[in-house]
Amino acid sequence: MSQPFLYALVGVGLFVLGLYALIIHAHLLRKILAINVMGSGVFLMLVALAGRHPDAPPDPVPHAMVITGIVVAVSATALALILMLKVYAVTGQTALDDEKPN
């Protein structure tokens, strides 16, 4: 079992954990955090697989994707947080209501 594979496995674990939290929790902040954990898992998988050849330099293409991905994830999180705060300001709830459509 190689070292990059172990790191990629940790990434898979983070992704699955985040997906579980995303499904189970109703609180919107927890959902946003869960998506961020999922994203971190994906980044970890990409970076780990980029270095899978021990004697060659790491593959720069996944690294470039991760660098831009992190910044984009931060901005998407900011947008999601503002949306959540607006939902809270309008409904007084921090979760989306399944029952009544309004």
Binding site: R30, V72, S75
Partner: protein, 243 residues
Amino acid sequence: MSITNPATGKAFRWLVMLLLSAIGGWLAYVMLVLSRSPAGLGDQVAAQLNTTGVGNPVTAVLLNFRGYDTLLEMAVLLIALLGVWSLGGLADYQDTAPGPTLDTLSRVLAPMLIMVAAYLLWVGADAPGGAFQAGSVLGAAGVLLQLAGWRLGDCFSGMLLRVVLISGLGLFILVGAGLLLIGGAFLQYPPALAGGLILLIETAATLTIGATLAALFLGNRPGLGPKKADPEKTEPDHGNQHP
């Protein structure tokens, strides 16, 4: 409000766990296969690196080989900021007076962070670094200053701020269109000019990323005119911070 969804019973949770472990196992198998596969783009990047104008393969991929991708990511940043602004920000945002420690620390740290950002930007041509890292550091400096109570002056928060926010994407598109005009393809740099053009784009992108991240943190849209004392975001290249 309960932490978990009240509708999710125990049976549902076990079902979710079961399905997710199946997904996890499948992904782990994919990782195992991928970690043994010899395919990769590293060799192709290394073979073409001397035509890109930069020595760092990650920067070469970001700004040259996949420049179109990076351009669209700058657009995503701008659209996210527009989304936050058009939602109206937070009405009840309060300024808090910082303690003496935070006040002093932020005065020491902010110039250092700006210097680090400039270094990262410059070194990104040949070593790990580049526009996104430098922009993140600038954004962190802006967030720190906002937490310490500093606000951008009114004369900078109007048109100038918006020009900085759009300059990264705008310059990127302008360079691409200019290359189109002189006979190349969109964002296909001639090797002789590539280094300079990439540095130019990266400088604008750094300022834009830093300003956008700091503005996203604040959430409020600053007023266009110098009349309103709106809570404000920072803009590091004009930053003389006086809380």
